[in-house]
Amino acid sequence: MIHSLFLVNASGDIFLEKHWKSVVSRSVCDYFFEAQERATEPENVPPVISTPHHYLISVLRHRIYFVAVIQSEVPPLFVIEFLHRVVDTFQDYFGVCTEAAIKDNVVVVYELLEEMLDNGFPLATESNILKELIKPPTILRTMVNTITGSTNVGEQLPTGQLSVVPWRRTGVKYTNNEAYFDVVEEIDAIIDKSGSTITAEIQGVIDACVKLTGMPDLTLSFMNPRLLDDVSFHPCVRFKRWEAERILSFIPPDGNFRLLSYHVSSQNLVAIPVYVKHNITFREGSSQGRFDLTLGPKQTMGKAVEAVLVSSQLPRGVLNANLNPSQGTYTFDPVTKLLTWDVGKINPQKLPSLKGTMSLQAGASKPDENPTINIQLKIQQMAISGLKVNRLDMYGEKYKPFKGIKYMTKAGKSVSSYLFEFLFI
């Protein structure tokens, strides 16, 4: 399976290597660098590269390439999924997954990688288990360790590893028992020039932060579970129960985890919360172009549209843009030709607009492509799909936990995102 792992930073240096079988020379990465050079953008490096003796499968996250070396047939998604899991684990342990963080914690990183794979086959990838084996570095623990000489490596086999609920460790204790659920939704939409929606879909997740003592058994029911078109679950969710009753029944892992991700696709359900009026023109023969953009809220049920960020890739011929925003600030990068306008909150009484001229390269012909406009935004206290949690019950433990549900929606790939109301049950 996975032979070796190389971490490559943006400037093309290998800053960490780990081998699970016999050592593979780092020169194998030359093939990767070749592909990297060929790609115009960092994202364009092909995820699977074939070399004479090995196969390289890479993942790009946080501007670090995680390059896995494979020697024989293995499902590529297997490796890709694992690499993403590694990144998630690093993020979980160190807060951020940057080159500096990895270099500072190289010993923990090595211990983690050692536990996560045995002979190239995933051994322990559940964060709960890993945390029992290797305690995450905190300032307090480092101090204690230096004084007492104790280690941050667990001596016992994590209980989860053997139990039927491998995702939860036993003996969890909290003084404040709390369970928080965030319903986060993203709209992903393509809108054509005239403003009509080409495609729109909602992708949602329920992220949970559960800090409950003992072995609680939770059930979460929805007011309108039929909304959920397609779902994927954390392994803890009892699938049979969902099939039969549309109720989420599970013994939660300890701490943060993603309980569920779902997909709402039918187009009529998706209301795009903003509209854009735009007029971007270039005249033939003139070195000037006009730029006029106005934003307005639409179907937001009285909720404010916040944190609006508009970005647009202007045509190559544009030298500079001289614009005047009615609110917020804008930047134009003359190298990448990327215009970004940080609008902030949209005031329905006074719609934000960005007007002005663009100067074109002298002699350049009129650009014939249409710039695309990407919008990001947040709306608080509004559920775009209308999904509502009905109730959350706990069985198996005696105490009364504090339960909270937060709805919110984030920016999708193309259009928008929201934040919903806060409610307690």
Partner: protein, 1047 residues
């Protein structure tokens, strides 16, 4: 040395800073920051020196007596390894610490050993005895890690020791150690393939392991060591299928792909002609083994039950969060499932498209291959493949590929419109790919060929060179497929020739003019003239085509072009490129007659101007089909090392009995239980009928007693009109029947008719919706009505009586709400011999029915909403006393939650306690009365320990009556008759509605709906809260803020 330690500490502090909470941040003053910087500078300078004598320092530290110093040194050694620096000279110093008590130090030493043991084999042997001792450690983690390291040390001398350790560990009590031994098998095999036979024995033993922890790893070992020993799987096949859901996700991937290969060798193809499976087969049979067998017997192809088992057990994994698992299931269905069932993977694959870029890439590749064979699968999701400006180029091209594959007559206009925007994309590479895609659409779908061609010609005037060039190339291919009447396009291209600089495009135009020179007799020689001028400056590919053009013109129009041709041939003769020189020589011999030129000369015309077959524009993914989906080979489109090809289905299935194991399968046990509930469900109308009977007796003369009983509980909003029409239908039914039959026989008749009816609609939960006391909100009822529509369509094919019923149903739907509709149906159905109804039914087609449904939906009041229960009573009732139950006691209470088994059921929670002193086994629900009572039983409880209790939930359909539900509670030896009697309040469900709707509903209620109870409220507690609490304790109602209790 001390400074070094400080640096390390501070480094750790800094890392912690990043994630530290504010509290810790405030603790940290400014000063240490500066100090820290100074220290890191110092330490980095120090690091540089380590190249020379730094390792000496480390050696000293490792040999010191202090644990902390050793640990420190090891951490730095690991740092060196991570950077890829050589630390092998420290081996003797490090290996001494292998027996350290400090676990962290030990682990770091292991890391070092695994890395360098291969290089220092002799020294590595020093550590072996430590591991051998650790293998006997009582702590399973230590045993496992010792085995891990021992097997990771690639020293051939210790192979016998490893073999022994593996064999021992494979029999270990701890599944974790057994899992480690499965991993060790692969390591040993790669170290010494001669051990294969012995290792296979261990694999065989481990395959029998029942632990989910081991399953994934041992299958992995199987795949690596002996993938061809399919015979080892036979006995474990069913166990693996059943364990699959509980295996950890990585193991699932491996097992699924192994089982895919296995199934292809053991089962016959489900794709044979004449094989027909119900569309709803999947959902229908999921839980029902019994019926499946019946079904299969009638079919020409019978699926092996084991084959079905695999498909059924992998299906839930489509919901996994692990994309690799989803993909593995998808490929399993693609390669193994009957064609009709493959579609269920579509949704999940489309979901994966929202994942990371790399995941998208792989999934899109697989979808591209799938869409070539099965367009229909992904067509409904076409919009998910629309390109976004933020996509990476390789994602964009893959999406384009898929869109092109999906194009058909119906959606081509949408796709072409989408393509138009892509052509304008700033990513020119992508724009060029789009033009090729347009070309493919044009050849595949003849209706749009002209449109596409015109569009491409327009693109010729595009400013971007790559776009123009690509258009030319594609137009060339298109013209070749239909060369008639396109001389104007060729002429247009000849005009553009001067402005086009991309050589591929120029070459294409030259070829076109040459090929169709007879259609453009005036232009062709002129183009040749221009080419003669610029010949030397052209690219090779253009030169070759110029020579071709010259030759063709020489043959067709030698008068005008003879000199030009000779000039070009002379130029070509002295060209630098040997290809061009060769071509020139060949052409000259071919076309210019001379004494030496042989027979070929005669055929020059036929050779050069032969009609050429048009190029086939097809998907680049066409040849990927040969690889198993989701595999690395598929992704690379070339066979990867260790790729096992999927075998073809065997013509005759090998012996099935090899998979028989004596142990009873757990899945089999579940199936009959569910089958039972279904049977009961189908009889539930029988029971509700009795209830009707009772009511009718009590309330003589009221025709619509049934409808009132349900609508009262339901309190849905319907218009008066609906009510009327329903009443009249009920009337007519009643009158006609009463003239024919006496009262008693009428009841009999009713029963039969209803039974029939309920059988037909056994599966449509929505029918039961109507008279259900428990909630369905406006949304769910809307959907369920559409569901019932589709169900009825299915049913209609079955037999004449249900068809009639369905027609009636749909007809009544025009004016009625779902619940009403069902009740009126019962009336109509009872008197089905009456011809009035049948005449109406026959004219309704399914499409009309769906239209009508739409109407009925719009009739629904949007205000109806079931509210959540505001109160759950704690009062429990005794079901079975332990004295009469021979130690088994049972209590029940109503949790007042919507029952999820079926909306019409009331959920009941049963607490079973064993008061006896022996274990009670197989507690389950037995016979029930009335016979039609619909109960959703709890799963059979295998065993109940003494003094243990278990709470199970069940659903009972009381059919809105307070009549007790009687059933038997059975244990292995005994049966106890018990009965549950609900209070009226428990049958209600709280709804929120406006005052208006409420009064409207109230008006519609007939009699028989009032239940009164006296509440004694002491004067002391007169607050609204107290009153409502009192009310809530007897009835499941919601609280309305205005103070008026709903209903």
């Amino acid at each position: 040395m001390v400074s070094c330690r400080c640096a390390e500490t501070v480094l750790n502090m800094r890392s912690a800073l990043v994630s530290a909470e504010t509290l810790q941040l405030t603790l940290k003053p400014e000063a240490p920051r500066l100090e820290e910087q100074a220290l890191t500078l110092q330490s980095s300078g120090w690091d540089k020196e380590t190249g020379k004598h730094g390792n000496e320092d480390l050696k000293e530290m490792l040999e010191s007596n202090k644990e902390s110093l050793k640990l420190e040194a090891m951490k730095r050694v690991v740092g060196l390894i991570a950077k890829g620096k050589n630390a092998s000279e420290l081996f003797p110093a490090v290996v001494k610490n292998v027996a350290s008590k400090n676990i962290e130090l030990k682990k770091l030493v292991y890391v070092y050993l695994v890395r360098y043991a291969e290089e220092q084999q002799d020294l590595a042997l020093l550590s072996i005895s430590t591991f051998q001792r650790a293998l006997k450690d009582p702590n399973q983690l230590i045993r496992a890690s010792a085995l891990r390291v021992l097997s990771s040390i690639r020293v051939p001398i210790i192979v016998p020791i490893m073999m022994l350790a593996i064999k021992e560990a494979a029999a270990d009590l701890s599944p974790y150690v057994r899992k480690t031994s499965a991993h060790a098998i692969q390591k040993l095999y790669s170290l010494d393939p001669d051990q294969k036979e012995q290792l296979i024995e261990v694999i065989e033993k481990l395959l029998k392991d029942k632990s989910t922890l081991v399953a994934g790893s041992v299958v992995m070992a199987f795949e690596e060591v002996c993938p061809d020993r399919i015979d080892l799987i036979h006995k474990n096949y069913r166990k693996l299928c059943n364990l699959l859901v509980d295996v950890e996700e990585w193991g699932q991937v491996v097992i699924i792909s192994m089982l895919t290969r296995y199934a292809r060798t053991q089962f016959t193809s489900p794709w044979k002609e004449g094989f027909m499976f119900d569309d709803n087969e999947k959902t229908f049979y999921d839980s029902d083994a019994e019926e499946k067998k019946d079904q299969e017997e009638t079919k020409p192809y019978t699926m092996d039950p084991d084959h079905r088992l695999l498909l059924r057990n992998t299906k839930p994994l489509l919901q996994s969060r692990n994309t690799a698992v989803v993909m593995a299931v998808a490929q399993l269905y693609w390669h193994l499932a009957p064609k009709q069932e493959v579609c269920i993977v579509t949704k999940s694959l489309v979901r994966l498209l929202r994942s990371h870029r790399e995941v998208q890439f792989i999934v899109l590749q697989n979808i591209a291959t799938m869409t070539i064979q099965r367009k229909g699968m992904f067509e409904p999701y076409m919009k998910s493949f629309y390109v976004r400006s933020t996509d990476a180029t390789h994602i964009k091209t893959l999406k384009l590929e898929i869109l092109t594959n999906l194009a058909n007559e119906a959606n081509i206009s949408t796709i072409l419109r989408e393509f138009q925007t892509y052509v304008k994309s700033q990513d020119k590479e992508f724009a060029a790919a789009t033009i090729q895609a347009i070309g493919r659409c044009a050849t595949n779908i003849s209706e749009v060929t002209d449109t596409c061609l015109n569009g491409l010609v327009l693109l010729l005037s595009n400013r971007d060179e790559t776009v123009v060039a690509e258009s030319v190339v594609v137009i060339k291919k298109l013209l070749q497929t239909q060369p008639t009447q396109h001389s104007d396009i060729i002429r247009h291209m000849a005009k553009l020739f001067d402005s086009i600089t991309v050589s591929m495009a120029r070459a294409s135009i030259l070829w076109l003019i040459g090929e169709y020179c007879e259609r453009v007799p005036k232009i062709a020689p002129d183009v040749l003239r221009k080419m003669a001028k610029s010949f030397t400056a052209e690219d090779d590919i253009v030169k070759l085509q110029t020579v071709n053009l010259a030759a063709k013109l020489y043959l067709t129009n030698s008068k005008q072009t003879k000199l030009l041709t000779q000039y070009i041939l002379n130029l070509g003769k002295y060209d630098q490129n040997y290809d061009i020189r060769d071509r020139t020589r060949f052409i000259r011999q071919l076309i210019v007659p001379s004494e030496k030129s042989g027979a070929l000369n005669k055929y020059a015309r036929r050779i050069l101007l032969a009609s050429k077959p048009a190029p086939v524009l097809e998907s680049a993914f066409k040849d990927r089909e040969r690889f198993q989906l989701g595999s690395l080979s598929h992704s690379l489109n070339s066979k990867a090392n260790g790729y096992h090809e999927l075998s073809d289905w065997p013509a005759v299935a090998p012996d099935q009995s090899v998979r028989n194991v004596d142990v009873i399968e757990p899945v089999k046990e579940r199936a009959p239980a569910l089958g039972k509930t279904r049977k009961n469900k189908s009889q539930d109308k029988f029971y509700s009928d009795e209830e009707d009977e009772n009511e009718e007796e009590e309330e003589e003369g009221s025709e619509s007693s049934e409808s009132s009983s349900s609508s009262s509980e339901e309190s849905c909003s319907e218009s008066e009109e609906e009510e009327e029409s329903e009443k009249s239908s009920g009337d007519s039914g009643k009158n006609s029947s009463s003239s024919e039959e006496s009262d008693d026989s009428e009841q009999e008749e009713k029963k039969k008719a209803k039974q029939k009816k309920s059988k037909a609609s056994a599966d449509s939960g929505s029918d039961e919706n109507g008279n259900g006391p428990v909630g369905h909100d406006s949304c769910s009822s809307a959907e369920s009505s559409s569901e019932s529509g589709s169900d009825s369509e299915d049913d209609s094919a079955d037999s004449p009586p249900p068809q009639k019923k369905n027609a009636n149903k749909s007809q009544s739907k025009v004016v009625m709400d779902n619940s009403k509709n069902q009740v009126s149906l019962l009336d109509l159905d009872d008197f089905s011999p009456v011809p009035v109804n049948t005449s109406q039914s026959s004219v309704l087609s399914p499409s009309l029915m769906s239209d009508l449904e739409g109407l009925s939906l719009s009739n629904m009041s949007p205000t109806l909403q079931v509210t959540s229960p505001t109160f759950s009573p704690v009062k429990t009732h005794e079901l079975l006393h332990h004295m009469s139950g021979k130690g088994l006691s049972a209590t029940y209470h109503f949790p007042r939650q919507p029952c999820l088994y079926q909306p019409s059921m009331v959920s009941v929670q049963l607490t079973l306690t064993n008061h006896s002193d022996q274990i009670l086994e197989e507690i389950h629900v037995g016979e029930r009365s009335p016979a039609g009572l619909s109960i959703h039983c709890f799963n059979t409880i295998e065993r109940l320990q003494p003094e243990a209790s278990v709470t199970v939930s069940m659903g009972i359909d009381f059919s809105d009556s307070t009549q007790a539900a009687n059933f038997q509670l059975c244990t292995k030896e005994d049966q106890f008759n018990v009965s549950i009697q609900p209070g009226v309040g428990e049958l209600l469900t709280p709804c929120t509605m406006t005052q208006q709707d409420f009064s409207k509903e109230q008006g519609k209620l007939m009699g028989m709906n009032e239940t009164s109870a006296t509440l004694s409220v002491s004067t002391a507690i007169s607050s609204a809260h107290a009153v409502s609490n009192q009310v809530l304790s007897v009835a499941n109602v919601g609280v309305v803020s205005s103070g008026s209790v709903s209903r």
